[in-house]
């Protein structure tokens, strides 16, 4: 029986195949439709990803579709400061005028596009092509920079290119699972169900959780919890590598034949003895030894990383350290063995594959002239205008802040809440000409917009998503979008036509008008590349329920896992990146890489010493604030905040404080407290307990209405990882002050 949620007394006309639009697991769902209204969803029975399971967000996502505050008509800000209804013609004409004006006067640096991890593949592909081949801009990135950029960066550094190597079935085929900064029970609910099912199965995998908090995951499934201090991932993972080497729990043949730079790794990690690690991380040495033994003596190991790695200190270095463990033990490319560098959003993978995150399509390397020549030929555009170094989202927002970017097109994302150092970013958003394309017109970012373009959302358009195991699924449109809202795809196609974007022969740059034709062009563009889609079609995706890339004519069934031949895309002519400096992000030139570093198909150990976080604690700011998600909400609650059950389950901010810290500060459960960093503050009720360790406070990052003080990102510094450019959103030095004692019960103590 599939998991389902259906309106009471609803009469369903039809079930439309789709994929869940929240988190990156990619659960297959059927959308129940009555007339032009979504009235329920159910998990798709028998699907290899979820077998009918769904999480609470997945079951409740359709409430957002029919919420009365959907954006239903374009809006333009009037002279009195109010957003006024406009026609599509007027809104698009204004947008095009401002784009043209900025491009003509100041050039490509003057415009920027900031998109999402929640659109569809065909939309990303079209947007990326418009940006790169049409407008000629480098200022394009997605909010995946906040969640999955480090995934891509670490895979490039260790293996030569993006692309998670494993498959979900590896979780059922392994003896050991290591979750690093991944609260799977809250962030990946269906995956966690699968893991728990596997734990009760024949292999009884040991589950190791590395997390500063005693999370839901720890409570419901961990066999070993390494509760480290925030920001110390690299030290702990180096310690595990050291123990693996010291105890001989490594695969010497694999290392010799398929990797390089083992000696550098060994030299660096050799100083990370369990006792040294304990001093840095606060993790007892015997627990570290236990973890290393389980990893080292298991025949198979699967690891996962999520935001506890990616949004923390030394993000790429830590993610690479997890990959190092797999390279040391030769646990990659075979069943039950994979480093799962996870994606955060349902189509983060598609963003990265198609280049809407600022990279070039199909993992092409911007510095490789041959990659650019090949792409220019497939797009029929001058190659001379391609090959621009990507500019990451934190840099784009800095360009906005300083006035270089004049026009910002913000699509399906809400940076007014989600960006670090939020106060400065609010000024930024208030200063540029801001176009917001979203399914809701009342998001915090939309409230600052000059133009709002109403867009369709999940269930209201057709296209593909790729999940974290490279499985591409087709989402069919179930209902029409409300009012005058259009699909993001249609808006992009319209924009390209109005901008008169053309190819080298004078033909329209975007020559398709429906997603299936866009998909077919993408298949052509990806053919022969690492994420090869050439063997897929809408028809085959419908038939199969999804295919894992690479999927070619010769391999039409797709590919379960990468690197089963133990050959890695690190050679200079195929590598997506030329090995960046893990401390500065600077990349080798092609000639440097080709002449001095080329691993020629072998994987690379990336070793780094631990460095403490840059935002340092002191007498004035003695605690560390970390942020994160709750199981019932997604990002800034644009969608989940509209679902009754989800809203009721997590209606507001709280600040987790350790009970001993609270006692010292005279704080009781429910008291209103203020958390102050060097750049801002957050206020809310204290939730006192033992979930966070001493010296740490935790704040969910979902909240942040304009004019209130609930945004965790008020606290976070303007720092980002050098390699992945992912903002550091989990480390801020803070102090806590008791603000007010309330006689009201905090919301988490109230009875229903």
């Amino acid at each position: 029986m599939p998991f389902s949620q259906i309106d009471t007394n609803a009469a369903i006309d039809r079930w439309v195949p789709s994929t869940c639009g929240l988190c990156s697991i990619g659960c297959r769902v059927d959308i129940g439709v009555s007339g032009q209204t979504i009235v329920g969803v159910r998990g798709h029975v028998g699907h290899p990803v979820n077998s009918g399971r769904l999480g609470p967000k997945g079951l409740n996502q359709y409430f957002a579709n029919r919420h009365p505050h959907r954006a239903t008509a374009p809006l333009i800000r009037g002279r009195d400061g109010r957003l006024l209804h406009a026609t599509w013609d007027d809104a698009m004409a204004l947008m095009v005028d401002r784009f043209n004006e900025a491009l003509a006067i100041d050039g490509p640096d003057a415009v920027a596009i900031y998109n999402s991890g929640q659109l569809l593949l065909e939309e990303y592909y079209t947007l990326g092509k418009i940006a790169r081949a049409g407008l000629g801009i480098a200022n394009i990135d997605a909010n995946t920079r906040l969640c999955t950029a480090t995934t891509a960066a670490s895979l490039m550094e260790n293996f030569g290119a993006d692309g998670p190597p494993g498959a979900y079935e590896d979780f059922e085929q392994t003896e050991c699972i290591v979750l690093v900064g991944h609260n799977a029970a809250e962030q990946s609910t269906v995956l966690w169900m699968r893991i728990l099912a596997a734990k009760a199965g024949p292999l009884h995998p040991k589950i190791i959780v590395i997390d500063p908090r005693r999370t839901f995951t720890v409570a419901t499934g961990a066999d070993l919890h390494l509760q480290l201090k925030p920001g110390t991932n690299v030290a702990l993972l180096n310690g595990i590598c050291n123990l693996l080497i010291e105890n001989g729990w490594i695969d010497r043949d694999f290392i010799a034949q398929h990797t390089i730079k083992f000696e550098q790794l060994r030299d660096i990690v050799s100083t990370y003895t369990p006792e040294h690690v304990e001093r840095i991380c606060g993790v007892p040495s015997d627990k570290l030894r236990q973890a290393a033994e389980w990893i080292g003596t298991s025949r198979t190991t699967v690891s996962t990383c999520l935001q506890g790695v990616y949004q923390s200190n030394q993000a790429t270095a830590a993610a690479c350290a997890v990959n190092n463990i797999h390279l040391l033990t030769g646990k990659i490319g075979r069943p039950g063995c994979a480093p799962f560098q996870f994606a955060g959003q349902p189509s983060s993978m598609s963003t990265r594959e198609t280049g809407a995150d600022g990279t070039y399509p199909a993992y092409r390397n911007w510095e490789d002239a041959n990659h650019m020549i090949d792409l220019a030929a497939r797009w029929n555009v001058p190659v001379e205008l391609l090959g621009k170094k990507p500019v990451g989202a934190p840099e784009i927002f800095e360009l906005c802040e300083h006035g270089y970017v004049k026009v910002l097109w913000n699509i399906a994302t809400n940076p007014a809440v989600s960006m670090m150092n939020r106060t400065s970013h609010l000024r930024t958003l208030n200063g540029v000409f801001l176009i917001v394309q979203d399914c809701f017109a009342d998001t915090e970012t939309a409230q600052l917009a000059d133009v709002v373009l109403p867009s369709a959302m999940w269930g209201e358009k057709t296209g593909c998503m790729t999940n974290a195991e490279r499985r591409v699924t087709l989402l069919r449109k179930a209902v029409d979008p409300p009012g005058e809202a259009k699909s993001d795809f249609d808006i992009f196609v319209d924009f390209a036509a109005r901008m008169n974007l053309r190819d080298a022969d004078g033909a329209p740059l975007i020559q398709y008008i429906d997603p299936e034709d866009a998909f077919d062009e993408w298949r052509m563009v990806s053919r022969g590349c690492i994420p090869d889609y050439s063997g897929m079609s809408y028809e085959r995706l419908d038939e199969t329920g999804g295919l894992q890339w690479p999927c070619t004519d010769a391999r039409p069934e797709g590919t379960t896992r990468l690197y089963s031949d133990l050959s890695f895309p690190t050679a200079w002519y195929v590598s997506e990146s030329y090995e960046k400096d893990i401390e500065t992000g600077h990349e080798h030139t092609l000639n440097e890489y080709r002449e001095k570093r080329d691993p020629r198909g072998r994987a690379v150990f990336v070793a780094t010493d631990y460095q403490p976080p840059n935002d340092t604690t002191d007498a004035e700011f003695p605690l560390i604030a970390i942020s994160g998600r709750q199981v019932y909400h997604w990002h800034t609650r644009t969608k989940t905040g509209r679902a009754p059950l989800l809203h009721d389950a997590a209606p507001g901010i709280f600040i987790s404080v350790n009970e001993e810290d609270a006692a010292e500060l005279g704080i009781r459960d429910g008291d209103i407290i203020e958390v102050i960093s060097r750049r801002g503050s957050v206020g809310g009720p204290a939730k006192v307990g033992d979930v966070v360790p001493r010296g740490v406070v935790f704040i969910p990052f979902h909240y942040g209405e304009l004019g209130d003080v609930h945004a965790a990102n008020n606290l976070m510094p303007k720092l980002w990882d050098p390699v992945s450019k992912q903002p550091v959103q989990k480390i801020a030095a803070v102090r806590v002050e008791a603000a007010a004692r309330t006689s009201e019960e905090p919301w988490w103590q109230r009875k229903p």
Binding site: M193, A219, T584, N614, P717
Partner: protein, 331 residues
């Protein structure tokens, strides 16, 4: 002598009275007539730069070449935008010119290495500079803005190349508006990856070598970048280990915001042009909330949920998860 005129002419050009002899036809040229030859030359120059990048072994100069290419791409995109706005044709491919310049670049590099390549590039910049100066006479509105920006980039590019050649050959320093020591402070010729020169400053230059990718930031940029850190981080920098301080400076220095700022605030004055840092836009008058406060989810919406764990292992977890309130104890 000719290049000495360039700096002055360029400066005057930007204020509207160029000194360079006009090559304008009698009839005002159309936008296409004005821009297509310029676009063709820029595209050909980019092709030549690509050839130079393929041969250049020193990473600093590769970065300089990429920066030059990026500026030329911007010139093309600006002119192409203006043409597009009028419904015009796409820029011509200039295949023959492209091939010629590429072949010329390869030959130049093989015969004379980096110095000869920079010299050839400067020659090409001079030609473009004259043409942009002339085009400024005939452009108005947005087209004039586009030409003005392209001319600025070309002037800066010409001065960077002139300074490098002066440092390497000992000739031509008098064509620069400032003493050569303001462009190059080091004992050996180096190219900073932010400003592409090697300027003096109070902090030491930063250099990273193998096994790192070669990275070099001059003393002047080291000073500038430190000043770009926000106060909350700048106040903590001295407490970071020196290696971390250097890494953060290098990270910031090679990012687009800092390199673009260097172009406007450092390279323009070193090219005889005024500092031209954009003024951040003024905050808009907005009404918040835009429409009305978002309503709470509609209470009347009720639904029937069915969850059926697939295995015994999942059962307890699923029960807690879908209770919607029990998970709170883990927050």
């Amino acid at each position: 002598m000719a290049t000495k005129t360039v700096g002055r002419a360029a400066g005057h050009s930007l204020s509207g009275s160029p000194q360079v002899p006009s090559t304008a036809p009698q009839r005002p040229p159309s936008l296409v007539e004005l821009f297509h030859p310029l676009i063709a030359r820029e595209i050909a120059a980019i092709g030549a730069i690509d050839s130079a990048i393929a041969h250049e072994s020193h990473p600093s100069y590769v970065v300089l070449l990429h920066a030059t290419k990026l500026n030329k791409q911007a010139n093309v995109e600006q002119m192409a935008t203006v043409i597009r706005m009028t419904g015009g044709d796409p820029p011509e491919q200039a295949v023959l010119r492209k091939l010629m310049m590429k072949a010329q670049t390869v030959l130049t590099w093989r015969l004379g290495g980096t110095t000869a390549t920079l010299s050839a590039m400067r020659f090409a910049e001079l030609d473009l500079l004259r043409r942009y100066t002339s085009a400024l006479d005939h452009a108005d509105g947005l087209a004039r803005h586009a030409v003005r920006k392209a001319l600025t980039r070309t002037i800066v590019q010409w001065h960077i190349l002139t300074a490098h050649l002066a440092r390497q050959t000992g000739r031509g320093a008098s064509m620069l508006p400032r003493p050569l020591r303001e462009y190059f402070a080091g004992q050996t010729p180096k190219a900073c990856m932010r400003c592409h020169l090697d300027r003096p400053g109070s902090h030491p230059p930063l250099e990273r070598v193998d096994p790192h990718p070669y990275t070099y930031i001059c003393a002047g940029c080291h000073d500038d970048v430190r000043a770009e850190f926000p106060p909350d981080l700048a106040s903590q920098m001295d407490g970071w280990p020196p290696r971390v301080q250097d890494a953060r400076v290098l990270q910031h220095a090679i990012g687009r915001p800092s390199t673009l700022h260097a172009f406007h605030a450092v390279l323009q004055p070193l090219s005889g042009l005024p500092v031209e840092v954009p003024v951040p836009a003024v905050a808009k008058a907005i009404i918040v909330p835009a429409i009305e406060p978002p309503p709470q989810p509609a209470a009347h919406e009720s639904a029937t949920t069915q969850v059926d764990p697939m295995s015994e292992g999942e059962r307890e977890y699923v029960a807690t998860l879908f209770d919607y309130r029990s998970v709170r104890r883990f927050w």
